[in-house]
Symmetry: D2
Subunit: 286 residues, 4 copies
C-alpha cells in the first residue's frame, strides 16, 4: 500500500447499485482505485465493500468527501468508514501471565509492522510489567478476585476510555469478561483462544485436545461477544501434533500459532479488512 | 521400503528391556534393521515399537521366528505382529452415494499405491456399482431402513466374514453402525468424518461449520468404536475457507481433504504404523 | 455461485475511472453485482477486474450488452470477456504414461466439479486409452520420435483445432513442446511441473530434490510459453518430506500435490479468476 | 521429555547389529529407553540412531558409561555423543541490521524454550545492541569492509573461541563468510536463508521471487559449508503470497517463516535430532 492510500469500507442491505454508489462517487471525486473487493451475502442479503484509493488531487478534503458521500450512502442505508493513510488505531492490550502474544505484538509494534498505537497494557498480574516498560508503555496492574471483579472491570474500562482506545486486544487474558463488559467492547475487542473454536471451548483446551488424541491443535482469534468463546471468528491456525506430545508439549507447540493467529487478526482489523455482521465476519484478504 | 523388508510391531507394559528384547532377538536371528521407532507413553506406562528389517539369510523362516520370539515376548506381556514383504490386507469398502473417497481409494488400489486387496464394495445404495465394476470388484447393494437395519448389518457382516476382510473402510458410508457392529469391527474399521473431530460431530458438519463462521474446515479419519464419532483418531486434515464459501462450497472444498485424510490413514494402517491403545493412537510416521 | 451468475472480466492500462466504467455500466444495465475484485499493478500500471453479476431482467441480452460495453471499454483500451452462466470451456488433455493427473481431472469432470467439456485426450503413448474410453472420451495416440516431432505436433494441433478446444491441459505430458506450438497455445495451455518452479527445472525434478536434501517438495501449475518451465505461474503446492524418502518416495508423495495444483489451476482458469499480463498472473481467489 | 532424560546419538557404517550394540548396552546399564528412532540410509550405507533414556540407577555415572560404550562402539566405527538432562549448548548469535530472528530467538531463550546458553551477540552493525543488552548479553560490534574482512572474521572467531560456543547461529547475518570460516564452523553453524533453497540463491531472494511471480515464498535453515547457500538443509517453511504482494510485502511476509524455520532448526539441533552426513541431514522429529 502506497503512503498516500486511503481506505473506504462500507456495508448495507443488498440492492441494485451498491457498488456503483461507491465507485461512481470515487470517480467523480477524482479518486483512483488501486484495489477493491466486494461481496454480497445472499443468505442474509447484505453487501460489503472495501476500496483502497489514491486521491488525484493533493488537496483531498476528507471531511467534505465524507459529508458528500454520506448523502448518497444514506439512500442505501449504508454504514461507511473512511481511513486516512498511516492512520494508527489506539489500542489497549490485556494480559495475564503468559507473555508470548504480548511479546509478539510488541515486537511488531515497535518495528512498525502493525498500524496501531498502544496506549496501555493492562493485567490482572504484575508479571509482565518489565516487558511493557522496556517498550515505554504504561502498565496497569489491576488484581482480580471473584469479589472484586466488578470494580476491576471498572478500572479496566476507565483505562480504555481515558486512553481513547478503539481496539482492545486480549493477548491471553485469562479472565472471563462480564456480559456487560463484553457488550461494551462488542466488535472492538479481539481475543485469542487456544483451540479451533468451537472445539474445546472453555478452560485448558490443550488438555482437552490431548484427552481426545487429536492430531492437530489450533488457535482462534475472534471478536468477543456476550457468549463466551462464541464470538465471530477472524482467523484460525493449526499445528500438527503427535502421540509423543504430552499436554505440556501441546501448550508449547500452540504458542507460535496463537501469536500468528492473533497478530494476523489484528492486522486484518486495522487494515479494515474485517466486516462484522451478526455472528459472522466477512474478510477481504490481500 | 525394499522389496524384501519385513515389519515387526509390538506393544506391552513399560519395563526395562522392552527395546532390547526385540532388537537382541533380531540381531541373533540375523535380521538387519533398516528403520526403527519406539515410544514409551509415560502417562499410561505403555511401550510401542515398530521395526523394519531385512533377514540376511535368504531362507528366513517366519514361523520359526515367531515361535521363538513369542517365548521372549511373553515375558514382557508383549503383543506382536510380523508382516511379510508385500503383504496385502484383505479389505471391504463401505459406501453410500458420495463417490469421491471410493474413487480415490480405487485409483490408489489399481496403481499399487496401497498394499491392500479389495475383496468387495458394500453399499446401502446402488449408485456406485459402475465404478466398482469397472475395477473388477464385487458390489453388494444392501438397502437399509430403520426396520431392516439388523438384517442389513448381518448381510454386511457376512460379506466381511466370507471375504476374510481384515480391514473395513467406511468411505463416506452415511449410516450409523450399531454398537454390536462397532464392537465387532473395533480396531479394524476406519471411518472418515467430514470435520475436525471432536468439533461438529453428528450430521451435516459442514453446515454446522458454516453456521459458526469457521475459517478452516477439516476431516478426520478414525477407528470406529461404540461411541459415535469418538473413535481413536488416526489423521486429520484442514482446508482454509472464507466468508464467500456457502455450505455447498464447504462440502465441495472438503472432498479433497476427506480423500487425502482417509487414504493416508489407510496407508498408515496397512504399513503397520498405527498402534491402538485405549482411546488413543500412537503413529510412527516415516 | 448461483445458477444465473454471469462473469465479466477485463484488463487495461491504469487510468482514473477504470472501475467506474465497468460498474456504472452494470448498474445502468440492471445487473446486480454479487462479487467483485479489482487490482491495479502500480509497477506496470495495469488494471484488472473480475465481476460476478446477476441480470435483474430475465431477458438479458448478452450480445447487446457486449456491443454497448465495447464502446465504453474502447476508451480505456480495455480488453474484456463476458462469460455466461454454466459456460463450459472445450478442453483437450495431453498425457504420456503417468495417469494420476488425468484420473483426477476425469473424476472432477464426470462429477461436474469443473466447468469444462473434455473433447479429447491426446497422448504419445497408448497406455491411458482405457481410462479415457471408460469416460466416453476419444483417445488419440500420436507416437513421437525426435524425427517425427513436427508431424506429431501437427496431429496434436489438428485435434485441438477440430475439437474447438479453448484450453489445453498438459497433465504430465512428458514431451517438450516446440517454440512454435508454445506460441500457438500461449495463454491457453496449462502445464503441471513437478517442482516448485523456478527450482528444479527440467528433467527428473524429484531426483534433483533428493540430491539437494530438501525438506519440502512441490508442484507448479503454469501457462506454457516459449521458455521451458518458465511460463507464468498459476498455483503452487508443497508437501513435507524427510530423509527417509528416497527419490521414488518423493515421486509417490508428489502425486497428490500435482493433482491438486493442476486441478486448482484449471478451476481458477475456467472460473475466469486468472489474468495474464507479461510473465505474471493476477489471480482473484474466492 | 522428563527432567532426568539423557540422549544418546550415534552414527556408523551400516552393519548387522548396529541397533543391538546400542540397545543391549543400555539394557545392561540399567537404562530405560523412552523414545528411540533409527534409520539406515541404503544409498550411502550409513546408520543413524537417537535414543532418549532414563537411568534406573540414580547414581548414573556418565563418564563410566561413555568409556564402556566407546569400546563396543569402536567395533562398529560408531561416532556417538551422550547428552545430559538439561544440557545447554553455548551459543554465539551473529546478526546484521534485521532484528526479527534475533528477537524471536531471544524470546525463546529467556522463556526457556531453547536449551541454549547465549554467550554473545556479534554484529557488523551497531543497531541491535539495545536488544541484546536488555537481555543481559554482551554485544560485539565488528564493522566490516572488503579490506577488513579477514581481520573482522578473526575477531568473530576469537569471540566464538573465548566464549566456548559450540553452535553459531547466523540470524540474518548479511555477510558471506570466507571459505576458511565456513570450514572452521562446519556442522556447527546454522544459517537462515530467505528462500526455498536451492531456489533463489544469493542476494535479494524475495525480489527474485517477485520477478518470477511465484505463489509461495519460503525460508531455509541450513548448516553452512564452503559452498554458499548450498549447505545441508535442516528445515524449510513456506507462506502463500499473491499478485498483490510487491517485493517489500514479500520481505514482510517472509519474516515469520524465517523466524519459525530458524527457531525450529536450532531446537532440532540442540535436542540432538539432526545428523549430518555428506551433504544431507537425517532428522528424527518428535
Amino acid at each position: 500500500m502506497s503512503a498516500d492510500t486511503w481506505i473506504l469500507t462500507a456495508q448495507c442491505p443488498s440492492r441494485l447499485g451498491t457498488v456503483d454508489v461507491v465507485t461512481r462517487f470515487l470517480k467523480e471525486s477524482g479518486c483512483y482505485i488501486t484495489e477493491q473487493q466486494s461481496f454480497d451475502d445472499r443468505l442474509v442479503d447484505r453487501f460489503f465493500i472495501r476500496t483502497e484509493f489514491i486521491p488525484q488531487d493533493t488537496d483531498f478534503d476528507a471531511e467534505a468527501f465524507q459529508a458528500s458521500f454520506a448523502a448518497r450512502a444514506g439512500e442505501f442505508e449504508m454504514v461507511f468508514e473512511l481511513t486516512s493513510p498511516g492512520a494508527r488505531i489506539p489500542v489497549v492490550i490485556m494480559v495475564s501471565k503468559a507473555d508470548h502474544c504480548l511479546n509478539d505484538l510488541l515486537y511488531r509494534y515497535r518495528t512498525g509492522q502493525l498500524s496501531i498505537e498502544i496506549r496501555a497494557v493492562v493485567s490482572n498480574h504484575p508479571d509482565l510489567e518489565g516487558l511493557a516498560t522496556w517498550h515505554g508503555l504504561p502498565y496497569h496492574h489491576f488484581p482480580i478476585t471473584p469479589e472484586t471483579k466488578p470494580e476491576q472491570e471498572a478500572q479496566v474500562a476507565r483505562v480504555i476510555e481515558e486512553t481513547g482506545a478503539e481496539l482492545v486486544i486480549l493477548a491471553r487474558y485469562m479472565q472471563v469478561l462480564s456480559s456487560d463488559m463484553c457488550e461494551k467492547l462488542s466488535g472492538r475487542a479481539i481475543n485469542i483462544h487456544h483451540s479451533l473454536l468451537p472445539g474445546f471451548k472453555g478452560a485448558k483446551p490443550y488438555h482437552q485436545a490431548y484427552e481426545k488424541g487429536v492430531k492437530l491443535v489450533g488457535a482462534t482469534a475472534h471478536y468477543i461477544n456476550d457468549d463466551l468463546d462464541e464470538g465471530p471468528i477472524i482467523t484460525q491456525a493449526v499445528e500438527a501434533v503427535s502421540h509423543a506430545d504430552y499436554p505440556e508439549d501441546l501448550v508449547a507447540k500452540g504458542r507460535d500459532i496463537e501469536c500468528l493467529a492473533l497478530a494476523k487478526a489484528v492486522a486484518l482489523h486495522v487494515e479494515r479488512r474485517v466486516f462484522l455482521h451478526a455472528r459472522r465476519t466477512v474478510i477481504f484478504e490481500r
